[in-house]
Amino acid sequence: DTEVTQTPKHLVMGMTNKKSLKCEQHMGHRAMYWYKQKAKKPPELMFVYSYEKLSINESVPSRFSPECPNSSLLNLHLHALQPEDSALYLCASSPSFEGQGAEKLFFGSGTQLSVL
């Protein structure tokens, strides 16, 4: 199994809603990532978890709250989002965050988020 699975594929939410994005991998990878991608732009790193601990937060607003409950699962909790947060949210995983294996990055197919 070399897949990173993201759910839901599409999400529409209002600015007062609370929702969560889910990402799962069963490759035994110990690093997991959230990226944000606006239309026709490259992905931008948001968060990195290594061994279920948050290792990098790229100055992301607190209305985005990541969670890594176990080594296979990564969530992104959303609250009080703005219309400009509408984007594709990509999850990725790699065997490690640093060292050998860090280059073997696998991406999920993303969640297309629309904030109304």
Partner: protein, 115 residues
């Protein structure tokens, strides 16, 4: 900081023809990885090819090959026998060795394959 430049925002090629996408990068690192990712309309980010800087041999994957010129800091992607399914956004990316979080993308090249 490393920068990745893709100078062709859009390209078009006819089916069965060959096309080359350009990528240059700037780094002072000696050990690093270079990648080409494909993102079709489905928006899944798919790894096309990966090149390790210390390997002089150019990486190939079926119809996809790269021309890696380390001294010139150039990493172009050649797609042979183009197929309609190759229509996608192509991103060149740089990763400092052993740093999964340090993946820098270029702005992308939108490739259209026409019948």
């Amino acid at each position: 900081a490393q920068t990745v430049t893709q100078s062709q925002p859009e390209m078009s090629v006819q089916e069965a023809e060959t096309v080359t996408l350009s990528c240059t990068y700037d780094t002072s690192e000696n050990n690093y990885y270079l990648f080409w990712y494909k993102q079709p309309p489905s928006r899944q980010m798919i790894l096309v090819i990966r090149q390790e800087a210390y390997k002089q041999q150019n990486a190939t994957e079926n119809r996809f090959s790269v021309n890696f010129q380390k001294a010139a800091k150039s990493f172009s992607l050649k797609i042979s026998d183009s197929q309609l399914g190759d229509t996608a956004m192509y991103f060149c990316a740089f990763m400092r060795s052993y740093s999964g979080y340090a993946l820098n993308f270029g702005k992308g090249t939108s490739l259209l394959v026409t019948p």
